[in-house]
């Protein structure tokens, strides 16, 4: 297992190099460059600009520019944001906690909803409740996340006034105070519900089918013959077996959450990585754009790797080597 994981991790390196070349070429193909972010904006003397251009390496051949960029990148120097005039690393670090909070909350919501619905459906298959849950899941799977988000804002934020419709925290609260954390949770809840509800459907159907399958197995019959209450059989014996395969979904969720975050964060104007990415595209903030694309690519690769490894961990029948 360890051998396999290490081999897969090493296998990611050529992929990442390839992606970095693509990212670099794309950034170079985009109109304009990040020179204006590095120099004194008030000095418009063409000689000064030309001099700075030469000095900062914008006139170097492309392979050298790539090499300089990637060397800095590996060492944690992501360059300076042309828009905010601060190091990209700090800019990203500032937004990471928000996205992390959103992603984790969304995952927790997914798990809670999937467990409640999946356990109910699995225990009473082909009943009215099961069909209702299946129908609900089908609709949730079909509604595009941004349509769901727009409706959620309209209903829960504007009509019912339950949640704020934008931002990540109430600016009037003092940082670090109890109200501050309550306000953050309050702001993150609606986007997290929308993001989390998207993947609930697949979890629920998987859990349901697995519970139904397990309930026909011999160990359940044995438990029933011994007189174990049905509730205990379902909640302990069967559930333990059915939870395990769900773990593999986690890796795929990782990648799905990244894509979902870009859309959800933008709609809810939630200041996270996704929103920063879109802003960097619109404002042509190349250093930020390149760093974020690399970061998001890495996370997607990592998520896929995680899924494969977890698959082998929970199901010993699958041979990875």
């Amino acid at each position: 297992m360890l051998k396999y994981s290490i081999r897969r991790l090493l296998g990611m390196i050529p992929m990442l190099i390839l992606i970095s070349i693509v990212v670099f070429s794309l950034a170079k193909l985009m109109p304009g460059d990040s020179l204006s972010g590095e120099i004194d904006p008030l000095n418009t003397n063409p000689e000064y600009i030309a001099e700075m251009r030469e000095k900062l390496g914008y006139n170097d051949p492309l392979p050298i520019q790539y090499f300089n960029w990637i060397t800095g990148f590996i060492q944690g120097d992501f360059g300076k944001s042309t828009r905010f005039k601060i190091p990209v690393f700090d800019l990203i670090m500032e937004k990471v906690p928000n996205t992390l909070l959103l992603g984790v909350t969304a995952l927790i919501i997914t798990y809670i909803m999937a467990f409640i619905m999946g356990m109910y459906s699995g225990r009473r298959p082909y009943t009215l409740g099961d069909n209702a849950i299946a129908g609900f899941n089908y609709v949730m799977l079909a509604i595009p996340s941004f349509v769901a988000a727009v409706f959620a804002i309209y209903i829960f934020a504007f009509q019912l006034n339950w949640f704020p419709f934008a931002g990540s925290v109430d600016i009037l609260t003092e940082q670090g105070s109890f109200e501050y954390y309550v306000s953050r949770m309050h702001h993150v809840l609606l986007p997290a519900i929308v993001l989390g509800a998207m993947s609930t459907a697949s979890y629920t159907q998987f859990l349901r089918n697995d519970i139904i399958e397990n309930s026909r197995k011999d160990f359940v019959r044995t438990a029933r013959a011994k007189g174990t209450p049905m509730k205990k059989i379902y909640n302990v014996h069967i559930l333990r077996n059915s939870i395990i395969p769900l773990v593999t979904f986690l890796g795929f969720d990782f990648a799905a959450l990244i894509g979902g975050a870009i859309i959800t964060e933008t709609i809810f104007t939630y200041p996270g990585i996704g929103q920063l990415f879109l802003e960097s595209v619109t404002s042509r903030d190349y250093p930020t754009l390149m760093a974020l694309t690399m970061l998001l690519s890495f996370l997607t690769l990592f998520g896929n790797l995680l899924a494969d490894i977890l698959y082998g961990v929970v199901d010993p029948r699958i041979r990875l080597d």
């Binding site: 794309l26 870009i262 879109l278 595209v281 974020l292 690519s297």
Partner: protein, 305 residues
């Protein structure tokens, strides 16, 4: 498959059904799929006939004109779904938007299916070196963070080529990985059959074996997958347009229309502007998914219904 039907027809007086006929009967009996098909046909017809029915339905059939006198009108007898902030009739724009959204969805699906089938069939049939090269490439495409690259590519190509086709090509070129994998696995299983060996032994060229013998046996999977991809492509188009990175703003598409909901004022106070596109996107996606499920059931010889 058609030839086998004619043979059985000659032998038996009572004609037995071809696989396609069986599939059609199963599909027609599926109520949900039939209602969905009806809805999709209706939406398509409405979109196609937009230039003809727009003048009948609305006093402002021109969607490219801004009418200052008719801004933000609530739905009434004259404007059935009201007008938007530039004084354009929402219902008319909905019809024209359908043209764009369906066109993008359909063309991108076509690209995805063609690329995926070609790559998958070649990799699966030839195996070995070709297979590993093509599958490495597929892995590469699949591992890209899709949305991130679509947005970046779209920004680069924007202005060089007409915006609509940039979008179609970019989302088409970045999403064929799944289809390629699926087709490859099906071809791998199918090529072990003896009829393939027979075809090869009588000297059929690889091209002929793939097109005449392998693909007809994989086509049902491709059709079902294509339906589901069509739905995904419509979602991607509208999501990108909603974010402002899709179809150019001046062209009405369902996603572009929905993007007016970005303004809190419109979202909160003028639901007639953004609700129709939101509802029609959702219904279209749902219907296509139901059709896909129905086709999957109908084309599966093991399902009894």
């Amino acid at each position: 498959m058609a030839s086998s039907t004619t043979i059985t027809q000659q032998k038996k007086p009572e004609r037995s059904l071809s696989p396609w006929q069986i599939a059609r009967r199963k599909f027609v009996r599926n109520k949900l799929a039939m209602i969905s098909s009806f809805f999709i046909v209706l939406v398509t017809l409405m979109s196609l006939s937009a230039p003809f029915i727009a003048p009948v339905l609305s006093p402002l059939p021109d969607i490219s004109k801004v009418n200052i006198s008719a801004m933000n009108i609530e739905p009434n007898g004259e404007h059935l779904l009201g007008t938007d902030k530039s004084g354009r009739d929402v219902l008319t724009r909905l019809f024209y938007g359908g043209r764009i959204s369906l066109l993008v969805g359909f063309s991108a699906t076509l690209i995805v299916i063609t690329l995926g089938t070609v790559v998958g069939a070649l990799a699966g049939f030839f195996g070995g070196f070709i297979d590993s090269i093509l599958m490495r490439f597929t892995d590469f495409v699949l591992n890209f963070p899709f949305l991130v690259f679509v947005i970046v590519l779209n920004t680069i190509l924007y202005g060089i080529v007409d915006g609509l086709w940039v979008l179609i090509m970019v989302i088409g070129a970045l999403s064929w990985g799944g289809v390629a994998r699926l087709v490859r696995s099906k071809v791998l299983a199918e090529k072990e059959n003896e009829y393939i060996l027979a075809a090869l032994s009588i000297g059929c060229s690889p091209f002929k074996v793939i097109t005449k013998h392998l693909l007809p046996n994989v086509i049902s999977t491709i059709i079902v997958q294509g339906t589901l991809i069509f739905a995904t492509m419509i979602v991607i188009e509208s999501a990108l347009s909603y974010l402002g990175f899709g179809v150019p703003q001046a062209t009405p598409s369902w996603g572009n229309m929905l993007s007016s909901a970005n303004e809190p004022d419109v979202l909160q106070g003028k639901p007639w502007i953004w609700m129709p596109p939101a509802i029609i996107i959702t219904l279209t996606i749902l219907s296509i998914n139901f059709i896909g499920e129905g086709l999957k059931d109908a084309l599966n010889p093991k399902s009894l219904r």
